[in-house]
């Protein structure tokens, strides 16, 4: 089966006045269908850049990148992925349901289909009852959930999530993490997930990609053997702690552990 994401010797350099910034250097990574992949690493190591490159929002300067065996551009035109940005990026003049309808309108779904998908995804992220509210009437966590619903609405098989829960408190975050796992288990989607939190990465992932900065590169790829079904207290088991320790070592080897939040 063709991998969902395949990067070979991928590099991306941003030109800058005072010396170029190497955001990605020699990245090799394969993501299979159904994987839950977390990207972890200190600030500035190229996590966002890598996700944006997959999404065809940035252009690699060397190497090759294939999404479902196609170029990123063709994959984007196929609407192969849903992207959840670090900020909710809801349109303030649209109600929550209209925000979720945005991709559906653009992709030409019928009114009936839109209504059905809005209802389904709003249920999924526990936002039922807030259809007619405007973004400013929702809390930050609810806004972020709305943006996840928007990315899920058109049912792409690949979900790219850039620190979606970064701005939320621990309790909401735990809750959304276990919701996300259930969703992933139910829908069999492939998920790429950027985070700064080691427990979050270990709890969610089948595969953890450890990155380090200057130049941005992948220093370790850790396969997790935790079961797909994960109650929150799995975080106290020895298996969990062993993987967390390996991630921590990987980050330390990148000489940047101190910078990790």
């Amino acid at each position: 089966m063709t991998p969902v994401v395949q990067a070979q010797n991928l590099g991306l350099t941003f030109p800058a006045g005072d010396g170029d910034i190497v955001a990605l250097s020699d990245v090799n990574l394969t993501i299979e269908k159904g994987d839950f992949v977390s990207f972890i690493g200190p600030s500035g190591c190229g996590k966002t850049t890598f996700l944006r490159t997959i999404a065809d929002l940035e252009q690699p300067t060397s190497g090759t990148l294939r999404i479902n065996g196609q170029t990123p551009e063709n994959a984007r035109k196929d609407r192969a992925y849903g992207y959840v940005f670090q900020a909710p990026a809801l349109y303030p003049w649209r109600t929550i349901e209209k925000n979720i309808a945005l991709p559906l309108e653009i992709m030409g779904h019928s009114q009936a289909q839109q209504a059905e998908r809005i209802k389904r995804t709003m249920d999924l992220v526990n936002l039922s009852g807030f259809e007619k509210k405007y973004p400013w009437q929702l809390s930050g966590g609810m806004q972020q959930r709305a943006s996840i619903a928007r990315a899920l609405a058109f049912d792409a098989d690949l979900l790219l999530m850039d620190e979606p829960f970064g701005a939320l408190d621990e309790i909401v975050r735990d809750h959304l993490n276990s919701e996300l796992l259930k969703l992933w288990d139910r829908t069999k989607k492939t998920i790429c997930f950027v985070t700064h939190s080691i427990p979050e990465a270990v709890y969610l992932s089948t595969k953890i990609v450890v990155m380090s900065p200057r130049p941005g590169r992948v220093t370790d790829v850790i396969e997790s053997n935790l079961p797909r079904e994960r109650p929150l207290d799995i975080r106290e088991t020895p298996e969990f702690l062993a993987i967390a320790a390996r991630v921590r070592d990987g980050l330390r080897a990148g000489h940047s552990y101190e910078e990790v939040v």
Binding site: L57, R76, K77, F85, A89, W93, L102, E105, I106, W136
Partner: protein, 288 residues
């Protein structure tokens, strides 16, 4: 009540000041008149009333202006050449047509500018240069020029209004249409939205607040444009003509009446744009 009292206080202060200023400014001429009539030792109160009742005062008193407005609108047939209501309508129609044309032109230019770098670089300097030419110099040229080819009345005047009012709309809309954040545009790209969709679903709604702000400026200067254009064609009528003939004949009361009507019109027009803005805001969930 809490809002009414301060407003009334200020209004009262303005009237007191106005009446006092009328005494002071009209006093020299009143003294000459009284001297000619051999009136001496006129008591102050009587003298004040005289200064408020001159035929061609330097500064007419408020009640003179308001009774002139009343007589020249309600007291005359609408079709009468002296009816202020008729002249106000002539000016208003040119203002509205010019405003609609100007807003349309402004929006079209702004759309061209944001979608096309060449348009940005080639159009913007001309647009700015156009506004550095004094309107008082342009208006007669346009009105007389178009009159020579048989185009008189509404059209030349509204062209002047358009010429003034398109500018704030271009500037505001370029800013407004460029206001979406990078992340909001990126989102559209991930959906592979076409330029048409990006425009109508993102840029246009994002620009609406700027559109209304610039339309408020635009409609007020449309009115100025129409009045200035009327100065160049005395036969056409309008508030501008009333100002002009008023000043030829020293009819200060007539001038002030026309001024007040123009100011009132401008206030009403800006308020109408403001009401439209409120309506659109409510539909777009803008926080009250």
């Amino acid at each position: 009540m809490n809002r009414v009292i301060p407003i009334l206080t200020i209004l009262l202060a303005i009237f007191v000041f106005w009446y006092a200023a009328a005494i002071w400014m009209n006093a020299p001429w009143q003294s000459i008149l009284n001297g000619r009539a051999n009136l001496t030792n006129v008591p102050f109160l009587e003298f004040a009333q005289q200064t408020w009742a001159q035929d061609k005062p330097i500064l007419p008193a408020p009640h003179q202006v308001f009774s002139e407005i009343w007589n020249a609108t309600m007291g005359l047939e609408f079709t009468s050449r002296r009816s202020l209501a008729l002249h106000a309508w002539i000016t208003l129609s040119a203002t509205l047509l010019g405003f609609v044309l100007g807003t349309g032109l402004g929006v079209i230019l702004a759309v061209a500018i944001i979608h096309n770098d060449a348009a940005d670089r080639s159009l913007m300097p001309w647009i700015i240069a156009s506004q550095t030419i004094p309107i008082l110099a342009i208006a007669p040229m346009v009105v007389v020029g178009l009159g020579a080819i048989g185009l008189t009345g509404l059209v030349p005047k509204s062209l002047i209004s358009m010429y003034l009012s398109f500018f704030p709309v271009v500037v505001g809309m370029v800013k407004g249409l460029r206001s979406p954040e990078a992340i909001q545009l990126d989102l559209m790209r991930t959906y592979d939205a076409n330029p048409w969709q990006v425009f109508w679903k993102l840029r246009w709604p994002a620009a609406l607040p700027m559109l209304f702000a610039s339309m408020k400026v635009g409609i007020a200067i449309s009115l100025i444009g129409a009045v200035v254009a009327e100065l160049s064609n005395a036969a056409g009528g309008g508030l501008g003509v009333r100002l002009l003939t008023g000043s030829y004949n020293g009819q200060t009361i007539q001038i002030w009446a026309a001024l007040f009507i123009a100011a009132g019109l401008a206030a009403v027009l800006v308020a109408i744009v403001g009401a439209a803005e409120k309506f659109v805001n409510a539909r777009n969930g803008v926080r009250a």
